[in-house]
């Protein structure tokens, strides 16, 4: 079963992009934890999380993202999110995640604002 994520890490100046491939569920937790431990992610001031447009994100996956938001808040890091479908933009707004992370329509737009 495709319950694995591949999270690419790309540095763009003072922003680190976490490129999340695959569905986001509770099974994603170790993949996010591992990515966040990477020195390029942990020590940077801004993080952009990019999801697949057609990814399945369930409440367990949203909880994993909330854990990431908690860690970035504790470490004083700014976080942005891109790649969401319109449905998941609505879900993230509904749950209040947008109070703690800005949602961008594209990676380029996110980088333009966050840089």
């Amino acid at each position: 079963m495709a319950d694995q994520n591949e999270i690419g890490i790309e540095n763009r100046g003072n922003i680190c992009i976490l490129d999340v491939k695959g569905d986001v569920t509770s099974a994603s937790e170790p993949f996010f934890a591992e990515a966040y431990k990477h020195p390029d992610v942990h020590g940077i001031s801004k993080i952009l999380v990019r999801f697949d447009k057609d990814a399945y994100i369930n409440s367990g996956g949203i909880a994993v993202l909330i854990q990431l938001l908690a860690e970035t808040k504790r470490n004083g890091q700014e976080i942005g999110i891109t790649g969401l479908s319109e449905h998941f933009k609505k879900i993230f707004h509904m749950t209040g995640i947008t109070r703690f992370a800005d949602i961008y329509p594209s990676k380029d737009e996110a980088l333009g604002v966050m840089e």
């Binding site: 319950d3 369930n58 938001l69 509904m94 109070r99």
Partner: protein, 161 residues
């Protein structure tokens, strides 16, 4: 039930296996598409169905693989009624809406968003409907293009057990 009524109903039976909720999602999406639900509401339905099935597997059936989850889709008047049945004894305590600030400050667990999503995405929700062979979550999505959660028809039964 008449033959005509039977053609307006689909039932799928799943073992308790995390990931199989996606089968229910796809089935409900196909059913909704056939009966003319607009694309945006189909996404709402898929998420609500996924969360109801996950709750049934994790909490109702307590992860026992042999315990079944039964999803029934039924066209009734101008609505699709979705019932997700598990072998548990209902939701003992209906959680309040999540407080994202408290979750991010790690004052409450990050998890626990499933019922919130179901209640906000469907037009009607009934929890803790007990039947002789299990606990049912009943959800309704209307065929017309209407925004959910306007508060006029939300219904959540009180907890049992």
């Amino acid at each position: 039930m008449s033959n005509e009524a039977n053609t307006r109903s689909v039932e799928i039976v799943m073992p308790t296996r995390i990931g199989y909720e996606r089968i229910a999602m796809d089935c409900s999406a196909s059913f909704a598409r056939i009966w003319g639900i607009v694309a945006e509401r189909i996404e709402d339905l898929k998420t609500a169905v996924a969360e109801a099935c996950l709750n049934a597997m994790e909490h109702g059936n307590k992860g026992r693989p042999e315990a079944r989850v039964v999803m029934t889709l039924q066209l009734e008047d101008a609505s699709i009624v979705v019932q997700v049945k598990d072998e548990g004894d209902g939701i003992r305590e209906i959680p309040p809406d999540p407080d994202i600030q408290r979750k991010i400050e790690e004052l409450e667990p990050a998890r626990g968003l499933g019922l919130f999503l179901i209640r906000h995405l469907m037009d009607e929700v009934e929890l803790n409907k007990m039947t002789p062979d299990g606990h049912v979550v009943r959800m309704v999505i209307r065929l017309e293009e209407a925004a959910p959660g306007d508060g006029s028809s939300d219904r959540v039964a009180s907890g049992q057990g």
